[in-house]
């Protein structure tokens, strides 16, 4: 009977696209902001 696809950790009713925070086919939830590489101004790379 297949499975309940709403329990795979994807917010299928989200008005935004999902792919931008899609973490992995094996992950039960989306990426967190600190997981997403972001091209910030080089000055922000303070370390």
């Amino acid at each position: 009977l297949g499975s309940d696809l709403t329990t795979l950790g994807l917010n299928l009713n989200s008005p935004e696209n999902l792919y931008g925070t899609f973490q992995s086919p094996w992950a039960d939830g989306p990426c967190r902001p600190q997981d997403i590489d972001f091209h910030v101004p080089s000055e922000y790379l303070t370390n």
Partner: protein, 518 residues
């Protein structure tokens, strides 16, 4: 083979040098200072002298990185975090070197040298992976290769002008490399492979941000077909092993993202996908068939007295980007088919039809499924065109008494249970969102039910629809309206059949569906 003497040591020395320069603060944020110094060293060492030497240099570097990773992974004392940082310390530096060489090879305007170098390196990494995969068998580890591919993907997708101008060729190079490493060729790499093609940057580039947006779609479709082909033999047996169900669930997650974000992509390539998805993989196939264009509003299938043929979209042909006509082989068979459609001759065509479709006597593998699917869609498309040429539209009246319907009725009657199941599936695979194919094939299925000369055919039509309806959501719109019409329209005398009452839970199920329709 035949590496020049000393090249191995020279390469090892250079790689170590580079890793230190990459990690030293003096190397600069994006290693440009370190890079210009290092390129001089490569020149002095003669590495850049010939294409062959550059190739050997990259191969030896890749092998050194891989060896280092296997060594780190074998040290039990290390925690997973420590192992990874040891591996990535070298791998990320090596990737940065590749990215800088790609970006700075040839002059800025000359993208050919850049792309040639990228293809070369991706090919070398793929080659080392396949060799390692074969040599180590179940001890194969995907970690180093996964890291090289993903970090190179991130590096070459940074928002820099020189990269933006060559992004299509860069993504094409990655698609080619991932196709070379498709799961049926490197099954030990399959989990990384699916992770790579699911990565948000990869999806964004292939499906959303390509200049001519749909340029990436055919390549991405091919990669999805690669994973479907791989899982097919393992999904045929309903009880999946833990690892297969992990891969299947991961594939479902990716498809859900595509259904949510790029439904038009699934609409355009549904045919190619359903051609390779095993017929018993019902929910995954429903997921693909449920996609509909975002700008389309689907009327509630349970609307009483819904007039499907009055919907504006119902006469529009869907985009199908697979050349299914070309899949009807051999050519002689295609010629006979076209001749029969046009002139109903040769008269022997129908009686020989099954022979063309049957490929073995092995139960469960008797028929050529892709040929069956292509035949059904081709004949249906021809029928729609013929009906339109007569100035009318598909309906229960206009689809009958035609060479096209002769072929479908012959298939319904002449095939055995297995063959008819595949035939009915090929028809049901066209029941999607409101379009001319959905309408035509919905009428065809209902007509075959009404005109069936045996209750077995009617039962099988019901089974094919029912097995698609009782699985968890999503359900294609065309499937729902067909089933509702079947149980609601008294002319099909649906409720009078014994098989409707064959078991209490079946009868209860039909009742439930019927009640939600009324």
């Amino acid at each position: 083979f035949d590496d020049p003497p000393g090249l191995q040591d020279k390469t090892e020395y250079l790689l170590r040098e580079w890793v230190n320069m990459y990690h030293s603060p003096a190397g600069g944020r994006d290693s440009t200072k370190a890079f210009s110094a290092f390129v001089n060293q490569m020149h002095q060492q003669g590495i850049l002298k010939t294409d062959d030497l550059i190739t050997r240099f990259f191969r030896i570097c890749t092998e050194l990185c891989v060896k280092l990773c296997y060594h780190a992974l074998s040290e039990q004392a290390h925690t997973a975090t420590l192992t990874r940082s040891k591996c990535f310390h070298t791998l990320d530096a090596f990737v940065r070197l590749i990215a800088l060489l790609v970006k700075h090879s040839g002059d800025a305007a000359n993208s050919v040298t850049k792309i040639n170098l990228l293809n070369k390196v991706l090919g070398i990494v793929a080659g080392v992976l396949l060799h390692d995969h074969e040599k180590r068998g179940s001890d194969f580890q995907q970690l180093p290769y996964h890291r090289i591919f993903i970090m190179l993907l991130l590096e070459l997708n940074a928002p820099e002008h020189v990269l933006e101008t060559i992004n299509f060729q860069v993504m094409t190079a990655f698609c080619n490399a991932f196709h070379v490493l498709r799961p049926s060729k490197a099954p030990g790499f399959v989990y990384s492979w699916l992770e790579l093609i699911s990565h948000r940057i990869f999806i964004a580039r292939m499906l959303a941000t390509m200049p001519q947006q749909k340029q990436g779609w055919p390549m991405y479709a091919q990669l999805l077909i690669d994973i479907f082909k791989f899982v097919t033999p393992f999904l045929r047996n309903a009880d999946l092993s833990k690892h297969v169900s992990l891969l299947y669930k991961g594939t479902l997650r990716l498809l859900l993202v595509l259904l949510h974000d790029f439904p038009e992509f699934l609409c355009d390539y549904h045919y190619g996908f359903c051609d390779v998805i095993p017929p018993n993989c019902i929910q995954m196939r429903n997921l693909i068939l449920s996609a509909f264009p975002r700008n389309m509003r689907l009327p509630d299938p349970f609307t009483p007295n819904l007039k499907v043929d009055m919907l504006s979209d119902i006469t529009q042909p869907p985009r199908i980007l697979t050349n299914f006509a070309a899949m009807i082989q051999p050519v002689t068979f295609k010629k006979e088919l076209d001749s029969y459609i046009k002139t109903r001759s040769p008269v022997t065509f129908l009686s020989e039809l099954r022979g063309h479709l049957q490929v073995s006597h092995e139960p469960g593998q008797r028929y050529n499924v892709p040929l069956m699917n292509a035949l059904v869609l081709y004949v249906g498309s021809q029928a729609i065109a013929y009906i339109h040429s007569k100035g009318s539209t598909p309906s229960m009246n206009t689809i009958t008494h035609s060479s096209h319907m002769d072929i479908f009725q012959n298939l319904a009657v002449d095939l055995d249970t297995e063959g008819r199941y595949l035939f009915l599936n090929a028809v049901a695979n066209q029941l999607r969102y409101p379009n001319s194919h959905t309408h035509y094939f919905s009428c065809t299925l209902l007509y075959l039910f009404a005109e069936a000369n045996s209750e077995a055919i009617q039962e099988q039509i019901t089974r094919v629809l029912l097995e698609r309806l009782i699985v968890n959501r999503p359900h294609p719109w065309g499937l729902l309206i067909t089933f509702i019409e079947l149980i609601r329209n008294p002319s099909f005398k649906f409720w009078g059949h014994d098989f409707v009452h064959c078991a209490p839970e079946i009868e209860k199920l039909f009742d439930t569906v019927a009640r939600s329709c009324m």
